[in-house]
Symmetry: C2
Subunit: 263 residues, 2 copies
C-alpha cells in the first residue's frame, strides 16, 4: 500500500466538505410498533466462565450447533437461576445461526449467539447502554479474530485441537483458515469438534467480559489494528471517501493474495 499516495488523496478530498450525519435517536419509539417494555438489560449477577464453557460445549454437541451452543451456554444458566424472564426465550431459537446462519457461512454462529447473550444481559435501547453493549460485543469479535483458538479443552477429551487465529468473524474464513492450517476437511468430525470448542471458548470469553463489566473493570483489549484504523480513516464514517462500513480486518480480503483464486 502506497501510504503517501493515500495521504494525498485524503488531503485532496478533505476539501470536499464535512459529512453531515443525521442519525435517529436510538430508543425512540414509534406509535403502533406494539413492542412491549423490554426491560433490557435482564438480571445478571455473574457466571463462572469455565462452567459456561463446559455447558456451551455440551450444548453445541447436541447437534444444534454454535449459535445455540453459546446462547444456551450462557442464557441456559440464567434461566435456571432466575426463571422468568429468561424462561421466555428458548435457546433453540438460536439454532438458526448454525454454520454462519443456516449454513450460509456468514457470521460465525458462536459470535452471533454471544452478541445476543451480551445484548440481553448488558444492553438496552437507550443510546448509552446500547453503545456500551456494542463495545463489549466488538471486543469479543476482536478477540475471536486475533487470538489462536480454540483455547478450550473438554475434561474428557484426550486430543488437542490445533489453535489458529481466524482473522475474521466470518464462518467461511474462520473455517477455511483452520482447514488450511491443519489440512483437515471442512465437514470432518475434527472440524466439527474444533467448532464445538470455539463455541466453548467464545461463551467463556463473553462471560469474562460480562463479569468484568459488572465489576466495572471491563476494558477492551483487542482494538482494531493500525492498518484497519488507517483504512477506515478514509473509507468509514467521517472519512473522505466514506464508501463502506466495517470493523473486519481489511487485509484478509483486500491485501492478501489468498483471496484471489488462481487462474
Amino acid at each position: 500500500v502506497d501510504t503517501v499516495k493515500r495521504d494525498l488523496i485524503r488531503t485532496a478530498l478533505a476539501g470536499a466538505g464535512a459529512i453531515v450525519l443525521a442519525p435517529l435517536a436510538a430508543g425512540a419509539r414509534v406509535e403502533g410498533t406494539g413492542a412491549p417494555a423490554d426491560g433490557l438489560p435482564w438480571k445478571y449477577t455473574g457466571l463462572d466462565p469455565d462452567a459456561t464453557a463446559d455447558r456451551a460445549y455440551r450444548a453445541h454437541r447436541t447437534g444444534l450447533g454454535c449459535c445455540y451452543g453459546v446462547f444456551e451456554g450462557i442464557i441456559g444458566q440464567l434461566r435456571e437461576q432466575f426463571g422468568a424472564p429468561y424462561s421466555g426465550i428458548p435457546s433453540e431459537l438460536f439454532a438458526f445461526g448454525e454454520g454462519g446462519i443456516a449454513g450460509a457461512a456468514t457470521v460465525c454462529g458462536a459470535l452471533n449467539g454471544a452478541a445476543a447473550a451480551i445484548f440481553l444481559t448488558a444492553g438496552g435501547t437507550d443510546e448509552k447502554k446500547k453503545a456500551r453493549a456494542f463495545e463489549m460485543i466488538r471486543e469479543v469479535f476482536g478477540w475471536y479474530e486475533q487470538e489462536p483458538l480454540p483455547d478450550y479443552r473438554p475434561g474428557d477429551a484426550g486430543s488437542e485441537v490445533r489453535r489458529v487465529a481466524a482473522r475474521s468473524p466470518l464462518c467461511h474464513v474462520s473455517v477455511s483458515r483452520w482447514c488450511e492450517a491443519t489440512g483437515l476437511k471442512s465437514f470432518s468430525k475434527e472440524r466439527s469438534e474444533r467448532c464445538a470448542r470455539m463455541s466453548a471458548s467464545t461463551a467463556r470469553q463473553a462471560v469474562r467480559i460480562l463479569n468484568a463489566e459488572r465489576a466495572s473493570s471491563f476494558v477492551a483489549s483487542h482494538p482494531l489494528s493500525s492498518e484497519v484504523t488507517s483504512c477506515r480513516s478514509c473509507h468509514d464514517s467521517g472519512g473522505v471517501l466514506e464508501d463502506t462500513r466495517t470493523t473486519m480486518d481489511c487485509g484478509v480480503c483486500h491485501f492478501s493474495g489468498e483471496t484471489r483464486h488462481p487462474e
Copy 2:
C-alpha cells in the same frame, strides 16, 4: 478460471477416497443443559406481507436498526395476535444485529432478523424441521443477494431509492456496492433510508415465504448460481478439496478485481 485445469485436479483428487461424515443427531439432548421444551415452531397462521413491510420500516426507523426492524416487523404482529409465547421475547434483543452486529458489518441485520423469525415460526429441533427452515432462510438470502433492492417504498415517501443487487448477505459488501452505485456516503441519511427500506423488503419477503410454506406452496426460486455450484463441488461438503463452506457468491471476493485494493 481454467475449468479444464480444475476438472483435472478434481479427477486427480477424487482418487483420494470418499469423505466420511459423522454428523451428530440434530435435536439430540444432553443431560444437564437444562433447556426447556422449546415447542418450536410457534403458532403462525399467516401475515399480510405489505403490512409487515410497513411495520418493519417503522420499527427500523425508531433507531434500533435493521435486525430489530425485521424481527419486530414480523414477530411484533404475532405478539399482538397471540400474546404468549411471543410476549416472552422482546424484539429489542435483536437490536444487537444492527450494522452487521454491533456495527461490525458481518451479516446484514435484516437477514439475521429474518432468519430468527423464520426459525421461530417454521423451524424446530428435529432434523426435518430444521432442514426445511434452513431452506427457507437460504431462499431469503439468495433473494437478497440476487434481486435489485430495496423494492419497498413507504406510503409517505416522495423520493425513490436506487435499487442495487447486493450480491452478498454481508452488510459490508451490501453497503459498499450501494454506495458505489449511487455515489452516496455510507453514513448518509440516504443510506440509512435505503437500509430501512431493505428491512421492509426483507421482512415482506420472509413473510411471503412463511405464507407459501403454510399453504404448502413454498418453492425456492433463488438457487445458487452455476459458478457457485461449480466452486462448491470441489471446495464444499463432499468435494475433493472440502476446505471451506459457504453459500455466498464466490466471485464477489475471489474472481473480482474489486476485492484487491489498488497498490
